[in-house]
Symmetry: C2
Subunit: 234 residues, 2 copies
């Protein structure tokens, strides 16, 4: 009943699978998803390429595994930043989490590109990726809900009539205790945050924005106020 519970074979499979993912992640970080080669991974691990298909039925399945890990890694960073900023006010908490997202992206550009850049060839992400992909969003929802329960939220611009049912549906799905207008603003700001990060990372800010950190901090602060957060102790 040790960690070798299921026998030598299952254990070896775990280890080899992990080694493949590790080496693949190394190549991903070094050269990007497009140059990730099954053969090169196998070569580096001292095995032959066909052996690798015992562990991942195709290159896209390997990528899917890396995508899930990337979402989890990013989500973990966001959650950690939120936990560390627990003593700050809602706006500062929001900013801290946003900065954690940006920092992670700058530290793992190719993995960020893998999950928030163009989808690969004809690849469509399986449902397995949904929960890990939601973690960052859930952190922001948590900030808003906590603020709503304690220091309160300001009301954003009223919803147009054609968006009311949609906003109420989103509210029921995501955070039933929040006003729909704030939920709609939150979802928009969530996407907008990744627009800021992506432009920074992918070079669209070259020759335009110089002091990226200060600019980003100000921009996400504006987003925080836009969703209804107000300064003050949490």
């Amino acid at each position: 009943m040790s960690s070798t519970a299921k026998g030598v074979r299952a254990r070896a499979r775990m280890e080899v699978t992990a080694a493949i993912k590790d080496e693949a992640r190394r190549q991903l970080a070094a050269e990007g998803a497009a140059k990730l080669s099954l053969r090169a991974v196998a070569r580096e691990l001292g095995m032959v390429s066909s052996a690798l298909y015992r562990y991942f039925p195709s290159r896209d399945d390997l990528l899917t595994a890396l995508i899930i890990d990337a979402y989890d890694s990013l989500g973990e960073s966001a959650e950690a930043a939120h936990a560390e900023a627990v003593d700050a006010g809602p706006v500062q908490r929001w900013i801290s989490v946003a900065q954690a997202v940006r920092d992670w992206a700058l530290r793992h550009p190719h993995e960020y590109a893998l999950i928030y850049g163009s989808p690969v060839p004809g690849y469509t992400a399986p449902d397995t990726t949904v929960p890990p992909a939601s973690r960052v969003g859930l952190v922001f929802i948590g900030i808003l809900r906590e603020a709503h329960a304690t220091s309160g939220l300001t009301e954003p611009a009223p919803l147009p009539a054609d968006l009311r049912p949609e906003a109420e549906r989103m509210t029921a799905d995501l955070a039933p205790d929040l006003p729909p207008a704030n939920v709609a603003a939150l979802v928009a700001s969530w996407a907008e945050l990744f627009g800021l990060v992506g432009f920074d990372l992918f070079g669209q800010f070259n020759r335009v924005v110089e002091h990226r950190e200060a600019f980003f901090r100000h921009a996400v602060g504006r987003l925080a106020h836009g969703v209804g957060l107000v300064d003050g102790r949490g």
Copy 2:
């Protein structure tokens, strides 16, 4: 001095170059950038792959040409939308241009991914791409400048001290007649707009946002107000 001014050969070169780009664009639209194959393009055009290298020294150069064309196509759509909305108020103009960007993206998803998604392998865009890439941004700057000169702008949240010099530099580069706080907000909203479009296009809104048009319209309306635009006749 007709269009065959430089002789049969130069004319043929233009035509073949155009045919290559057309076929490449077709494959790009059909399968995405990763599956764009020089050999397949040549095959479809009835020539041999090596002949294609007389026109584009590498696959990346072909992609660069397509990137420039995509930026120009998107920029043209944005400019056309702006021209058509000339009678509307500033906010409505902003929304119309934003919708044109989104519509273009939905109509050319792979080309959008090419220019605003992950950068290709180790590829870095040459300076040739800068002017076409700026066209959309320039339209938004134009809307803000016109509004500033006529109906006026509201003041966004004041700039923090560490962002003042940066905002003033951006203002000098982009629109010296605008207040720096509005320029900083504009640059942020520019990136945020593409965050909204990207999330829509790349599936991040799946199972979250249902009525995409209404949601997008509301979100970019909020961005318009955020940069200081106010409703009213243009």
